[in-house]
Each structure stands twice: as C-alpha cells, then as structure tokens.
Subunit: 334 residues, 2 copies
C-alpha cells in the first residue's frame, strides 16, 4: 500500500505533510510517495529529524497557489506538486492521494486527471463534522457543487453511505436530506424531487429530511446537501463554534475568580476542544472518482495529515471507488 502525498499543499507544507507521512509509515506500515521539490523535502526531513524510511520522492517544480483558477490544475499547471501527485495516482504509482492544497483544484484534478467513475454525474466533497456522536457525521456535498440536480443528490447519498459504512465503519448508515423542514413537501422543487428519489433508493437507509437545527444531534450518519447550502451549514457551524469559544475565553479571563474556574475545569475544556478539533476527524474525501483522493484541512498539522493518510489507506484497502462504481452502475442511470 502506497499513499501519494502532495508535500507542498497547505499552510504548513512541506514540514507537516512530511512529518505526518513519516508518522504514518511507522504507525500503519505503509509506503509514501512524496511529491514536490525533492531537494527541499530532503533538507526539511534532515533538519527536523524526519525518517525517510519507506518514503520515495517524486519531483515537482512548482506549487499550485490558493489564488489560482482551480481549472488551471488540469492543463496549465502540469508542473505543480498537486497535478503530479494526481497524475501519479492516475498512472498507478500509488493507491490514493492526500493533499492539503486548494480544494477547488483538487476537485478539478480528481475529476479530470484521476477521472470520474462511469455513471457518476458529479464528483463531490464530503466532510466529517463533530456532533453528539463522538465519531461525527458526514456532510455531503459540503461545497463542491453549488448547482445540482435531484439525481446528483441521490448519488451523493449512495457515495456517502458507502464511505461511512466501509471507512468509518458505521453499520447501515442513516441518510438524511438537509432541508428547511421535515415534511416531504419542504424545500425547493429540486429538494422535493431528491426526497422522492432517495426514499425509493434501496441502496441507502433513508430516514427523511433533517433541519439544520438537528444535524449535530446524532440523528443521521450521512447528511446530504446541495453544495451551496452544505457550504453554508459547514461554515456557519464553524463560525458559531469559534464565536462561542471566543466568548468563553473572555468569560474565563474576566477576573481572579473566573481564572480559578478555568483551572478547575481545564481537563474537561481540553477534552471538549479535542472533540471539536477537525484534526481528530482527518480529511474530507472526494467521492465519485476512480481512486481515493483525500483533502486534508488547509491548516493541517502533522497529526491531521497522518489521520488523512490513514483514511486514504482504508479507502484504498476497501476499494471504495469500486464499491461506489458497482452501486451507481447497477441502477442509478436514467
């Protein structure tokens, strides 16, 4: 099992990806193909005492920037670590890719370099969000496709369900549709149509619509959304959590009494922080493409990167793309 990493994607590259990769080699017994400026990578490893055992390197002369047009990853920017990593995956030099680089470019590259699974209408980005269930829930799509049709949501449901069952080991995962009410007549025409398709879809355990109010309540394992409102749901929840955290910090810093309170509850606060920490949940899988592509958070540290590599490994081991291909081809075509 060999995982390809884009060693120059993300805020903490190349140190965090390389450190995470070395830790992953040790912990999971895998091999790594690290893509980027080889000289720089070797220097960083040497300087930081990062073992390169089990690690191969592949040269890329440049880095894809966050500000660039995602579409450019396919043809214009073939010299970037992101393009070369995805090309290496397409060419069979490894089993899955992990990158903390531009989400848009990764999605474009996954779609057009690694390529969509036959029958899949749109590749999609899913994320695991913290909730009452200590293992979180999946939000799919969380921002890749702003404009979708009902049959795409129905495919997202199947892909999310397969992933949560095989990678996150959730049995018979409960699938819900994010909507503005619980009744099946709620939402736009598109949502009403998606409800019908999902209800009739025997490959998923559809439990109906879910309102934004309840997504964190461990009701659904997979919450299906159009990419626009999925993005709103994800970002608003991050914003609210950050707002409350900031307010709490202010509270605890008010005076001597509150500072003592902070000391007394330190352990629990730390545990809570860990629960809300994205690094514990690993990366966001791009689903609907022929091989495993995992987007690590842009600000990933070594641990987050290692966790994303673990996800990539499980994805490849279980041949998730093949299972999705089978699920899609055997019935979802119109």
């Amino acid at each position: 099992m060999k995982i390809i990493i884009d060693a120059f994607g993300g805020d903490n590259a190349p140190l965090a990806p390389l450190q995470g990769a070395a830790d992953a080699i040790k912990e999971y017994g895998i091999e790594i193909l690290a893509v980027g400026d080889i000289e720089k990578m070797k220097k960083v490893c040497e300087k930081n005492n990062i073992s390169t055992e089990g690690m191969e390197f592949l040269q890329a002369d440049s880095v894809f920037n966050m500000e660039e047009d995602p579409m450019d990853i396919v043809k214009k920017r073939k010299d970037t670590s992101l393009h070369i990593a995805l090309k290496a995956l397409a060419d069979g030099l490894g089993d899955a890719v992990v990158s903390a680089g531009s989400t848009g470019a990764l999605l474009m590259g996954a779609t057009f370099i690694v390529k969509r699974i036959k029958g899949v209408k749109r590749a999609t980005l899913a994320t695991i969000m913290p909730c009452e269930n200590p293992n979180g829930f999946m939000l799919i799509d969380c921002g890749a496709n702003s404009e979708v049709r009902a049959n795409m949501l129905n495919q997202f449901a199947v892909m999310g369900s397969v992933y949560m069952e095989k990678v996150a080991k959730r049995k018979n995962p409960k699938v819900a549709l994010l909507n503005n009410g619980e009744e099946e007549t709620k939402g736009t025409e598109m949502h009403i149509e998606a409800y019908k398709l999902m209800k009739a879809n025997e490959k998923i355990n559809f439990i109906g619509n879910i309102e934004g109010r309840y997504v964190l309540n461990d009701i659904a394992d997979v919450v299906v959304a159009d990419g626009f409102s999925g993005n709103i749901a994800l970002k608003v929840s991050e914003g609210v959590a950050s707002f409350i955290t900031k307010e709490m910090k202010g509270m605890f810093m008010t005076n001597l009494k509150t500072k003592i309170a902070a000391l007394l509850i330190k352990k629990q606060l730390k545990e809570f922080k860990a629960k809300m920490d994205y690094t514990e949940y690993g990366g966001a899988p791009i689903l609907g493409v022929t091989k495993g592509v995992i987007k690590a958070h842009g600000s990933s540290n070594a641990k987050a990167f290692k966790n994303a590599i673990r996800q990539a490994k499980i994805y490849a081991e279980n041949d998730i793309s093949q299972i999705i291909a089978n699920s899609i081809v055997s019935g979802d075509e119109e």
Copy 2:
C-alpha cells in the same frame, strides 16, 4: 398608537401575550387590541392579576394550529385569532400586529390580508441573530421564500436596510450577501446576478459577499440570503449553540471541582446566556407588506412578547412600510 396582538398564538398563549401586552402598555404608553376568545382572555387576566387598562378585546372563536396548511389562513380559517388580528390591521383598527403563531400562516396572512407593498415581489421574513455586535445582525430572508430570483434578493437588501436603519437605529447599515465565497463570481447563477444588482444599488451600503464562517463577526448589519440557505444558516447556528451549551453543562457537572468552577463563573455564564437569548432581540419582522407585522418566537414568554410589541411600535411610528414603498417604487421595478 395601538398594537394588535394575536393573543392565542404561540406555546404560552394566552398568558404570555397578555402579560407582555400589559407590561408594554405600562412601559411604552401604547394601547393594545387583544384578539381571541374574550371570555378566556378576561379570566386569564383576572386570575393572574394582569391589568386590562389600555387594553381592548376583539372576539375570535378559534385558533390557527401549527399543523394546518398556512394557505388556509386567508379564506378557510377566517374565524381564527390570527386572521382576525390581521384583518383588524388591514381595516385600520390598529397600527401593527404581533403574533407568536404559525410563521407560514402569518406570512400568508400578511401577504394576502394586509397585502404586499406595490412593486414588492415577495414579502420576506427577517430575524435578528446574536453576534459579536451586542445588538445582533439581521438575516433576511430566514425561511419565507425557498425559491427566489436575484431581483428579490435585491429588494430584501433594501427592506432589511431600511428596517435596520430606522428600527434598530444602525447608521448606514452594511449589507452583505450570504454566499459560499467572497469573490463576486461565487455561488449559483442567481447569486452572481444578485451580487451585480446589489453592487449597482445606490440605496444600500453593499459590502459584498459574506461566508457563513463570518456572519457572527459583526462585519455586516444585514445579511441577505435566499430563504432556503437563510433557514439553514439560522437553524444550524441554533443547533450548534444548543449543542455546545449542552456539552458545557455536562462539563460543569462532571465532579466537585467542576461544580465549584461553575459557581465561580456563574455571573459571566448568565450574562452570556442573556446575550444568546432570542427574547432580548424581540421578534422577526415580515417585510414588504403595507403595515407592520411582527412574528414573535413560538416559545415567547411575556418579556419576549413585550419586546416584540416595542418593535411593532417603532415600526409603526417610523412608517417603515411607507419608506420601503418609496424605496422600491422609485427604481427597483423592471
């Protein structure tokens, strides 16, 4: 100034509306027209020592239930306190209406009984949400119109702006469009078109797109959204706040040490709770109709109801509907 209340709408009716109304009469020097079963209302006032000075009553034989089809408010259910309250407003028996009843029915009733302002394409529901600014920000539309066109969002922007300037006394309110990125090319075709219209609109202080991540950061006074993603934003933020509150309660109840911590920080926790409390922010205005219609939260207590009545009073005093009518008619027509 006479405010009409639907005394039988909401979870705590008729006690909370009547108590809130009596408090509002005392505090704001207004009159109240309370609509509902007169005998029952009088009994509740007597039993709870609620003064009926400044209060008139108008008979309604039944109550509109949350489960009923909102459309029925217009013709089928003319005997309900909600219909009769809105009819009384349309007939000039009072200056504004407050109800904690069915949001959908209130919106339908406002649109078809009180009637839309000429030129307004859709009446909309706005809400004030807690954020870093202690007075909150407005989210418009927060759930009334799932499917909208760009010119409707542009009208929401104007209406929200007028309301925040005149009722919430926010000077030259900053207006932003809820979107999945900051660039003007973000979102669906509809959002891109809405961005252009709002940018060209001289009646508003448009500051561009805002991501869900930043809505609580006191960047915009008015956040414009289509009703679908507005509903998702509102409900997800309620869900996350409720989730974190629950987790915090658990933390503080863990053991003796954490219980002492809770005591030490009690005052600050209470203040924070008040900040997040919807009752402090009053009700949600329905904008785009010819007179003031305020939706109080379904679970409003007397205080929330009193605050909603205060909003209704300021709305009527400032003739907000007329200002909106002038803003819309003088340029937004295609």
